[in-house]
């Protein structure tokens, strides 16, 4: 991990201005912007490990976390990130408020916009919803997950985790396993890793592979043994088994038998391969609890990197907005 002195952490002035107003999709980022965000996040790790976890570059700014889908961990991660940067953070969980009274997404955007936030962090169940909202507001918007489209900060935190464990990204082989069809995490990761010259593999039963995936991943497998062979990183995805059982897969037990990550299957990957999961995990569905808790697992590191990446994203987007 590159070392930064804590005094250097006091300013972000040594990074060039970040040219994006929003973070909606990894597809919008150029390679140097991705690397820039990862480097910024590196510094935020240092800040988060200090006694005084404060780097108030966003003092006086307002951040609204607008979650149309409940997500404790992502919302907390963005909240902590904003607060460590000194922003006023307001959480709005919209399932229970005006949307259920028939207010449209666009109306909600207009209402919140009138409260003059500096950044909206938005999660929504529909692909494209965050982009639509970003067109209707005057502040920066960060996509915290939109349907099966993208979850850009997850891909950034995954890349940061891998880089810190492997020392580099280019040339590695990352296998993403499970419900690719419904996963925004998989899409963002395929785009980001692809942009950084990482070899990507997807492994899933055919029913969980979306059409055209062979154009997004380097290689596509339906067999775990073939797919995991030589992998440096094994990234497991959460299976929505209540929805999939009986339709996309016959049962959890069969899924676990063929696609759940256990010691035998992990043995097919490289001996030093790390295991990742975006959480929340279904232990015994897509992953053996013993693997999830083993020293091969970097799942709690991902959570820590999550806060750092979100701090970096907020820090990068907001000054850009002021200069605009």
């Amino acid at each position: 991990m590159p070392q930064h002195s804590s005094s250097a952490a006091g300013s972000s002035g040594d990074f060039p201005p970040f040219r994006q107003r929003h973070l909606i999709s990894i597809a919008d980022l150029k390679q140097h912007e991705i690397i820039d965000l990862l480097d910024r996040a590196e510094r935020m790790i240092d800040i988060s490990r200090q006694e005084r976890k404060s780097h108030p570059t966003l003092a006086g700014k307002t951040q609204i976390n607008l979650f149309f889908e409940p997500s404790t961990r992502t919302q907390s991660s963005f909240e902590i990130a904003g607060k460590r940067l000194g922003a006023l953070v307001v959480n709005m969980s919209v399932k229970t408020s005006s949307v259920s009274k028939g207010e449209t997404l666009v109306d909600t955007a207009a209402t919140l916009n009138a409260m003059r936030p500096d950044v909206l962090v938005v999660r929504h169940g529909a692909a494209g919803a965050v982009e639509l909202l970003s067109q209707k507001v005057g502040c920066s918007v960060v996509n915290a997950g939109d349907g099966a489209h993208e979850h850009p900060t997850q891909a950034l935190l995954d890349a940061l985790t891998i880089r810190n464990h492997k020392g580099m990204l280019a040339g590695l082989t990352v296998a993403i396993c499970g419900d690719i069809a419904n996963s925004r995490v998989a899409r963002s990761n395929l785009l980001l890793l692809g942009a950084l010259n990482v070899r990507t593999r997807v492994i899933a039963p055919r029913t969980l592979l979306p059409a055209g995936i062979e154009n997004l991943a380097t290689e596509v497998f339906t067999d775990m043994e073939e797919g995991l062979k030589g992998a440096d990183v094994v990234m497991m995805l959460r299976l929505q088994h209540e929805r999939a059982s009986g339709k996309m897969i016959p049962s959890v037990r069969e899924y676990y038998r063929f696609y759940g990550l256990d010691a035998q299957k992990l043995g097919w990957a490289k001996p030093d391969a790390i295991v990742m999961h975006p959480g929340p995990m279904n232990r015994g569905v897509e992953i053996d609890p013993a693997i999830a808790d083993s020293e091969r697992s970097v799942i709690t590191d991902q959570v820590e990197m999550g806060v750092a990446v979100r701090m970096a994203v907020l820090d990068a987007l907001l000054p850009a907005r002021n200069q605009a």
């Binding site: 929504h124 529909a126 692909a127 494209g128 489209h149 899409r187 059409a211 055209g212």
Partner: protein, 432 residues
């Protein structure tokens, strides 16, 4: 009695008679009473003369698929606004889908619509009647009484009947009354939550796709049932290459089968959706470029008979939504002809082919006396400048809705004048 009217010095293109020649038409009492092909007409006393200056004179267009908001959703479209939009696009007659509130599934409502349209609309409005009550796909309507009331065809509009048994009896009963049976096909379970065509593009957007088989499977079933029941079957709108193949095969053995095509599937493809542009959320969905090419080939080969606008007015409330949650549909009356002319300018299709699909063929399928330039036919005519440049602009729409799939598009070719029953109901004004 109005004075006679002569349209002289026109390039007369009449697909019904395969005419494409300079000439003149004489119009008296709303009818075409004489034709002078190849030269100027003699001018009767007191006749008004329009010199077309070589512009194209064609039969007024007949649009087989138009949704109107009246009754029930007048804020989207009324008979009057749809009529005004139609004639501005050169459409002199259109079939109105029964998807209104209440549904057009009763003779009294057909009668009401005909009377009200006569009073309110500049274009002729031809009501279609629902196949099933309330468009619910369960019980068939009174086909005989609906026909007597003036319904031109049967269709469940945007809905698709899922039960093969119900379709069989509905087609059989429609054959009994010799009514055109127009069916838009999709397999609701295969569509599932799908909102666009399955493929890489849907995957990248994170949107649920629907396979092309959701169209071809029920189409294959319909074509077999059409042969079984001997109904006059019209596949409302094809959108996949596989569907064209099915139609070609069916037509070789069954002359009563015809098929339509939405202008959207002729001019656009799935890439036009871009980043979740909901004006391009349509049913059938936009397909790949290969499918679009198959539509062009289908028009050339005759597998596809008609081109329609699929005019479907929607308000911003239901369109300014995340893509998966937005309503289907785009307006199209005012852009139909100009959009179709793109295919002419690109060299893909000739003028005769696209005009036939919007005049003679729909008239034949529906049994109308319009759609042709012939002695005794109603003087529903359009003058077209094939090269007139213009840009689609929201504020110039006569439609009450704005959900166009040709927003700000640059067009080449436009209707300059529209006549319905010999009366000029639209003249092009130069845009500022």
């Amino acid at each position: 009695m109005t004075s006679p009217l002569i349209i002289d010095n026109a390039r007369i293109v009449d697909p019904a008679s395969n005419t494409d020649q300079l000439g003149a038409v004489l119009i008296e009492n709303g009818l075409i009473t004489d034709l002078a092909i190849g030269g100027p007409a003699g001018v009767p006393d007191g006749a008004e003369v329009i010199n077309a200056g070589g512009q194209l004179l064609a039969p007024g267009l007949i649009d087989m698929r138009v949704f109107v908001g009246e009754p029930g959703k007048e804020y989207r479209e009324t008979l009057a606004s749809a009529g005004a939009a139609a004639v501005a696009g050169g459409i002199t007659s259109f079939v109105m889908m029964p998807d209104t509130t209440p549904t057009v599934d009763d003779g009294a409502l057909v009668d009401f619509l005909i009377r009200r349209a006569e009073a309110q609309s500049l274009a002729r409005i031809l009501p279609a009647a629902a196949i099933t009550k309330g468009l619910l796909g369960k019980d068939i309507t009174e086909f005989g009484l609906l026909k007597e009331a003036g319904a031109v065809c049967l269709t469940d509009g945007a809905q698709s009947i899922q039960s093969s048994a119900l379709l069989r009896s509905a087609m059989g009963y429609a054959a009994n009354f010799d009514m055109p049976f127009v069916h838009h096909v999709f397999d609701a379970e295969l569509v599932g939550d799908g909102v666009m065509t399955e493929g890489l593009f849907a995957t990248v957007l994170g949107l649920k796709g629907m396979p092309r088989e959701a169209e071809t499977i029920p189409l294959a079933r319909d074509l077999q049932l059409a042969a079984l029941t001997k109904v006059r079957y019209h596949a409302a709108q094809l959108s996949t290459a596989g569907s064209v193949t099915l139609l070609e095969a069916a037509k070789s053995g069954n002359t009563k089968v015809t098929a339509g095509l939405s202008i959207n599937n002729l001019c656009l493809n799935e890439n036009d959706i871009g980043r979740y542009r909901t004006y391009f959320k349509l049913n059938p969905p936009l397909r790949s470029e290969d499918d679009r090419q198959a539509m062009i080939e289908g028009l050339r080969s005759g597998a596809i008979d008609t081109i329609h606008s699929d005019h479907d007015p929607q308000d911003s409330e239901v369109k300014r939504q995340p893509f998966a949650e937005a309503s289907n549909g785009a307006i199209g009356l005012e852009t139909l002809l100009s959009a179709a002319l793109r295919l002419v300018h690109s060299g893909d299709l000739n003028v005769m082919t696209i005009l036939r699909a919007m005049t003679a063929r729909p008239a034949e399928i529906l049994g109308l006396d319009t759609g042709r330039i012939a002695r005794g036919a109603p003087a529903d005519l359009i003058l077209v400048d094939l090269d007139y440049p213009w840009q689609v602009t929201e504020k110039n729409f006569r439609s009450r809705s704005r959900n166009t799939s040709f927003e700000n598009a640059r067009m080449q070719g436009k209707v300059m004048r529209t006549l319905v029953g010999g009366k000029t109901v639209f003249m092009n004004e130069v845009q500022e």
